[in-house]
Amino acid sequence: MNKNTLNERILDEIIRYAVTNNIEETKWTREEELAKRYTFSASHEQKMQQLFKQQKRKEKIAHMKRSALKIAAGVLIFLSVSFVTVMSVDALRVNILNFINERLDNYTKVSVDETEKPNAEIQGEVMPAYLPEGYEKVFFEYKNDYYFSTYQDKNGNEIILVKLSEWTTAGIDSEDAYMERLIVNGHAAEYYEKNSNSTLLYRYEGKVFLLSGPISKNEIIKIAESLEIKRYKYFQNKLKSL
């Protein structure tokens, strides 16, 4: 601290001391005496009251704004945390995809949520137009909006295609399986791989399907994307032949 600064500070302290003493010694006029000495006009009083009211209103609005901001911030934090939590819980997240998955210790339980109506009502069998070389349909059974079909090659390798219904409870072996989320037919799908077997859970025309077999990921996706409504194709062919 140099000399000038020190002098300035000393001067400041002297002034502060003098002002404090002066305030103590000053005899302030009391409010009652002031009221007797000065009389304000009615219009002045009215204006003053209005000013006070305006000031109070301003303070109130400012307080409300501050509170609203705090509440908004709180709600935003709550929603963010809720969203992150909901999206991190598998059972809830997959529900958005029209099927509910519950990841258990040994397997994944799947049930279909039919509250979301399909985009188009599927009339007739929905069958894949593409099958890997050597595979052919060996079994098909349909019941109450559910069906189970199998395709086999000469070596006995088997691919299953299942159409799950609202009344289906299904289980997929997912213990230690490689799992991936994909987009198939424009919808989110789940892919599982274990013991050289691929399983795909996906949607087609608002319905939930499962494909599983000892084939590659690319092949299973190719089958899934080749699904078509057989009866529709049958009528198309009929029309073409006319």
């Binding site: 939590t85 819980v89 059974e141 019941k143 109450n144 409870t169």
Partner: protein, 143 residues
Amino acid sequence: MVKIKYRIIFCLVLAFVLCVPSSSNAMDNRDLDGSSYVPVWTLIKYADNNFYINPDGRASMTASISAYSGIDRVSMTSHLQRYVNNTWVTIKHWTHENSGTSAFWSEDYYVSTGYSYRLVTYFFAYKGTSADSASLISKTQYY
């Protein structure tokens, strides 16, 4: 006062964060007839059961299983259960077996009115001397 508000908001957020995963796990802890049942799922790759009661009282049931390659045979036992006196009672059961890696079973059965019903299916896969089992419980339906 402001501190109390923040504490309440923090507690609510914390409670929500803790509650959501636990409610999800609660759905997983389903058991059969009150007893804990742990499925194995080593040879079985996929299984399902379907249970629907038609308006005329016809319970329409299916079950299917698919096991990994190299399995000798698979079988399924389905129990149609009715909820009576706070317990699930099997009123009829069926067994279906198939040599190979997959099997499909289907059955219709008329049920009485005034009860809740469900289908419990036990799945088995056999490979030499080893076997695998799993089970699934359908959605409960009242007729």
